[in-house]
Amino acid sequence: MPIKILSVDDSRTIRLIVGRSLRPYDCILCEAANGEEGLVAAAREKPDIILLDVTMPVMDGVTMLTKLKEDPALKSIPVIMLTAESGRDNVIHIARLGVRDYLVKPFKEEQLIDKVGRIVQLKRKEVSAPTAAPVPAV
């Protein structure tokens, strides 16, 4: 079974980088552009892991994380924060809400794979297969 990863970021650039980083691995990438879409996608797709930005329009990452952790069906999904914000109070607040890891932008693709690989077992694709098309959030 391929690993299902949900990337929640308002930047298409970051979602493309995440997709490119994961391309060699047997996984399905789902995408959402804000926290509200992210919650819908998390409930529908039940991802194995969520990569979550902080500053986003409509609903930010901290609000999405809070709601995720309040939902018994979703709260056990591991979350890695993927953000440029690493201020002390913000990091402590987010850690207390319950995240598995935190990756500060800018990041190298290897760092992302390393952090994701510590939480879920990433397997390299055996043959060069076409990239899985991103699953739209809505």
Binding site: D10, S11, R12, T13, I14, L16, I17, R20, V54, T55, M56, P57, T83, A84, E85, S86, G87, R88, D89, N90, V91, I92, A95, R96, L97, G98, D101, Y102, L103, V104, K105, P106, F107, K108, Q111
Partner: protein
């Protein structure tokens, strides 16, 4: 995760890079409304780059150092107040974040240059703006010509500039660059007690290359380059916006 978590422990666990000491120190000093000017002057006098930037900010109309009317840190602080020091303190993490982003995502070494040595942007260029508000309020502007924006976006996305034809992708990459810069600098401000919020970036074409001005606040223009890519970062700030 339960209480009792401290930032140092989390920084180790998450593998955060250490934050630059001088920028943090200066921001902490400026964040106190009763800061001792001598102490601030001492920090700036020890750092030739900061000193150069302060004098440039304090002499906005001078075209070169010979024309400077304000020549010492003490004079600059007395005449311009904390606003000009705050933009310096804010500019450092912005420039560092931009440099690190180029190094990490594009394998390019970005260097800071004197804005007067940089080629002015002529005609339409890409302008990204982020507004921040809270205890300190202001804006960060990121400018670059279209060719630079295309080269940066293509590099980040792993394409050749010729392959990148979608203007929205170029704008989105510029917006993300701005997001990364300001996210890092917001962290620095918040850690110094100057809590603020960021608005999502706005990226558009502009033909206005003038440095913005802020009544009662500070403004700094920084220029950075690597090869043919030139970037301009303007920071405006009004401190203690309680």
């Amino acid at each position: 995760m339960q209480g009792g978590v401290n930032y140092q422990e989390l920084s180790r666990r998450y593998g955060f890079a250490p934050k630059p000491e001088s920028a943090s120190r200066l921001t902490q000093l400026v964040s106190r409304q009763d800061s001792d000017l001598d102490e601030i002057a001492k920090v700036i006098n020890k750092d030739p780059v900061l000193l150069k930037r302060l004098l440039r900010v304090a002499n906005p109309d001078a075209e070169n150092e010979i024309e400077y009317a304000v020549e010492t840190v003490e004079d600059a602080l007395m005449r311009n107040g904390m606003g000009c020091v705050l933009v310096l303190a804010m500019g450092t993490p912005l420039a560092l974040a931009l440099t690190k982003t180029f190094q990490t995502m594009l394998s390019l070494k970005l260097e800071m240059i004197d804005p007067s040595e940089a080629e002015c942007l002529q005609g339409d260029h890409l302008l990204g703006t982020i507004h921040f508000s809270g205890k300190v309020e202001g804006e960060v502007y990121l400018r670059m010509n279209i060719a630079s924006a295309r080269a940066i976006a293509a590099g980040i996305l792993g394409m050749s500039p010729e392959e990148l034809t979608d203007t929205n992708e170029i704008k989105d990459a510029a917006g993300e660059l701005l997001n990364i810069m300001t996210g890092n600098f917001k962290s620095n401000l918040c850690d110094a007690g100057l809590d603020c919020r960021l608005q999502p970036p706005e990226v558009k074409l502009s033909n206005n290359f003038h440095t913005p001005s802020v009544a009662g606040g500070g403004v700094e223009r920084m220029a950075l380059r690597t090869g043919k890519i030139h970037l301009f970062v303007d920071v405006t700030a009004n401190p203690w916006n309680d």
